[in-house]
């Protein structure tokens, strides 16, 4: 009966009911569409990042500085921060590859350098890798021109995007074989290396921060980073990895920092010729910043991450595993920023909407004072009056949320039918796809329904408190 009474009340005040439904409808539609899109973006971005350059998880050395594949995640610290190498690399790698959940691993050194090409200078993030292994790990990467550098061979790869950029800015298209000069400023001054451009590649659904990445052979990057490698005779002594000599094994040219301003690419060319590359046989393991981990399907990355980290913790091993998101660092913040921005805007709409609804309900309580008093006089409890108002408003919010979900469902079908293609690379990388295919997320629909009931309840709290204060005696006074 209370439901019947609630429904009759709603029908009687059609106009007010419609306005309240409309307000709830706007709120729930925004909530559902916005959060569905953000959830999808999050998943899309995850796919883009995991399959192009982060892997599911990343193992790195522990450090007081929060860092990822692009270096320190804190701005300003970045410039002066040297990413630590993984200690006990060999045993950790063996440990990881022995895990059932792990499909594959690949290792990486990271750094940032100035790149000179065709008399233009670019600041570039460098990933030091072993070409063939890295490309086997990331099957999403496509080599468009040239070749990969094989293990032990020097060389660098750039993205098609970067090649286009250089062509646009210098008029000369970089081609395999072009010499590229890399300059890095470290604690001990400049290090400069010249490497040949080996090839041009592309990512799938890339974004602008990924397109900056240059893939360089690992020996070159180690040299630029001043990473010394343990030689065969003391390979067991992990503690020695960073010890003593600042002159690295490669003995390449250092340029003192005092001359930093006047340096030009040509003036140090002759110094480069003095480089002595250590014979490969002397190098064993180590000298890596990161191990990227690809997990088998259906393995929960979170649980592997937690297990490994607590294992490292308990055994005092200086290593930690981070998620793809942390590994990508600031470049993965985009969706978070969007989420914050969106939810900020949503919050404003929500507050305005709720205030309007509360207002309408308060007016309704005042209009119905006599009626409420009569019900109280003939024996309705305060709880009954409260229940009636809650019920009325929750019915409205449920109707609104069903309408909102139905409309969203139709909208999604229309969008998918239309098969829109996106040209904006940022959106492509956020969604992880270039043709818009939106999915109706049942979980989000469920959350939206719950939210609408909650909003219906919350917006009735204050009006109900007024309604419950109405004394039965008002029935006599007001009629």
């Amino acid at each position: 009966m209370i439901v019947y009474l609630a429904l009759r009340n709603l029908v009687r005040h059609k106009k007010r009911s419609l306005i309240i439904v409309l307000l709830f409808f706007v709120i729930i539609t925004l909530f559902f569409i916005g959060n569905s899109t953000l959830m999808q973006m999050n998943q899309g971005m995850r796919k883009t990042f995991v399959e192009n350059f982060t892997g599911d998880l990343v193992l790195k050395s522990t450090s007081p500085v929060d860092f990822g594949l692009f270096g320190a995640n804190t701005p300003f610290v970045g410039e002066y921060f040297a990413i630590p190498v993984i200690q006990n690399y060999d045993s950790l790698l063996a440990e990881l590859e022995g895990l059932d959940q792990v499909e594959a691993t690949v290792s990486q050194v990271s750094g940032a350098a100035l790149m000179d090409i065709h008399n233009k200078r670019y600041k570039v993030p460098l990933f030091g890798i072993e070409g063939d292994e890295y490309f086997r790990f990331f099957s999403n990467l496509k080599l468009l021109e040239g070749d990969l550098f094989t293990t032990g061979e020097e060389g660098i790869l750039m993205t098609e995007y970067r090649a286009n950029q250089i062509e646009r800015e210098t008029g000369l298209r970089p081609v395999p074989g072009d010499p590229i000069l890399l300059t890095m400023f470290g604690n001990k001054g400049f290090k400069i290396r010249e490497v040949p451009l080996k090839g041009i590649f592309s990512y799938t659904n890339s974004n602008s921060s990924m397109d900056q990445i240059m893939l360089v052979d690992v020996q070159t990057l180690r040299a630029l980073n001043s990473i010394t490698l343990a030689s065969k005779k003391d390979s067991g002594a992990v503690d020695d990895l960073f010890s003593g000599s600042v002159d690295d094994l490669f003995g390449e040219s250092d340029v003192e920092s005092g001359e930093s301003d006047g340096i030009s690419a040509e003036s140090v060319m002759d110094l480069l010729s003095q480089d002595v590359v250590a014979p490969e046989g002397d190098l064993v393991g180590g000298g890596w910043n990161f191990i990227l981990i690809d997990l088998k399907e259906r393995v929960n990355p979170r649980s592997v991450l937690e297990k490994l980290n607590s294992f490292f913790d308990e055994n005092d091993i200086n290593a930690e595993v981070i998620s793809w998101r942390k590994a990508a660092g600031l470049s993965a913040m985009m969706v978070y920023l969007l989420q914050i921005l969106y939810n900020g805007g949503f919050l404003l709409v929500l507050i305005a909407g709720i205030i309007a609804i509360v207002n309408l309900l308060v007016i309704s309580v005042f209009e119905r004072t006599g009626e409420i008093g009569t019900l109280r006089a003939i024996g309705a409890s305060k709880g009954y009056i409260g229940g009636l108002f809650y019920l009325e408003n929750i019915i409205l919010s449920l109707i609104a949320s069903l309408l909102a979900l139905a409309l969203s469902f139709l909208l999604i079908r229309v969008i998918n039918r239309a098969g829109l293609t996106i040209n904006n690379s940022l959106i492509v990388s956020l969604l992880g796809m270039s043709t818009v295919r939106v999915t109706f997320l049942p979980l989000m629909a469920f959350i939206s329904m719950i939210t609408s009931v909650l909003l219906g309840f919350l917006s009735t709290l204050f009006p109900v408190s007024l309604a419950m204060k109405i004394e039965p005696v008002t029935a006599v006074a007001r009629g």
Binding site: M1, L5, R8, R376, I378, G379, K382, V476
Partner: protein, 229 residues
């Protein structure tokens, strides 16, 4: 048998910085099954005293007894239960719910409690009451489609639907012409005799008060005289 007793009931309303004394110490005793009229000029305190008996308002001092039980300082919950099961109300301006039809308006007191009679039982009883107040053909009509007298009949049926011991009616005929008012009072009197329900109504109409077994005259918040027949 005494059903209601009022002992030294006072009620004052603060109006700005003056205090209006609506009742100045009323002592009353009403018998079960009586047809009681509370009479007096405007402002005498009739409505105030009906509100005390009907448990919709509380006295400033004094006590109301229903069947020897003090009730005026019970909690809101307990008074609500008493109003629901023990008392019936007829209002001056009818107070029907405009969203419900005649049948539903009569039915509602049965449905606002924690448990209620089965549907079949309800239908039988409400049909009987509809017949009693002569509104059977109007069962499905909305209050807005009825005349004042018809509306007050609906209100009478509603007041009786929970089979209360006492029905309280504050000026039930004030919004009706005198002929209709008389008919309504006759109906109430018939039910009073048939169902043994105690009726207490207030009025300032001389002819109507004469139908009562027991008339209480109020003036300025005092009982000035009583008449029993």
């Amino acid at each position: 048998m005494e059903i209601i007793k009022l002992t030294d009931i006072k009620k004052s309303y603060p109006m700005g910085n003056v205090i209006v004394n609506a009742l100045n110490g009323v002592n009353l005793s009403l018998d079960k099954g009586d047809f009681v009229a509370v009479a007096g000029p405007s402002g005498a305190g009739k409505t105030t005293i009906m509100n005390m008996i009907g448990l919709v308002d509380q006295p400033t001092s004094g006590e109301v007894f229903i069947e020897d039980k003090p009730v005026s300082h019970l909690s809101d919950k307990e008074r609500t239960v008493l109003r629901h099961h023990y008392l019936g109300f007829i209002f001056q301006s009818f107070n029907l719910l405009p969203i419900l039809n005649v049948y539903e308006n009569i039915e509602i007191p049965l449905l606002i409690g924690k448990k209620y009679p089965a549907k079949k039982e309800r239908i039988e009883w409400i049909d009987f009451l509809l017949d009693e107040v002569g509104l059977s053909p109007w069962k499905k009509h909305k209050p807005s489609e009825l005349s004042g007298g018809q509306r007050q009949r609906v209100a009478i049926a509603r007041a009786l639907v929970t089979k209360p011991e006492i029905v309280i009616a504050d000026e039930p005929t004030a919004n009706l012409d005198s002929k209709t008012g008389e008919k309504i009072l006759n109906l109430m009197k018939t039910i009073n005799k048939e169902q043994k329900t105690t009726f207490i109504f207030s009025t300032h109409d001389e002819t109507i008060k004469n139908m009562a077994d027991h008339v209480i005259y109020l003036h300025d918040g005092f009982v000035v005289s009583e008449e029993k027949s």
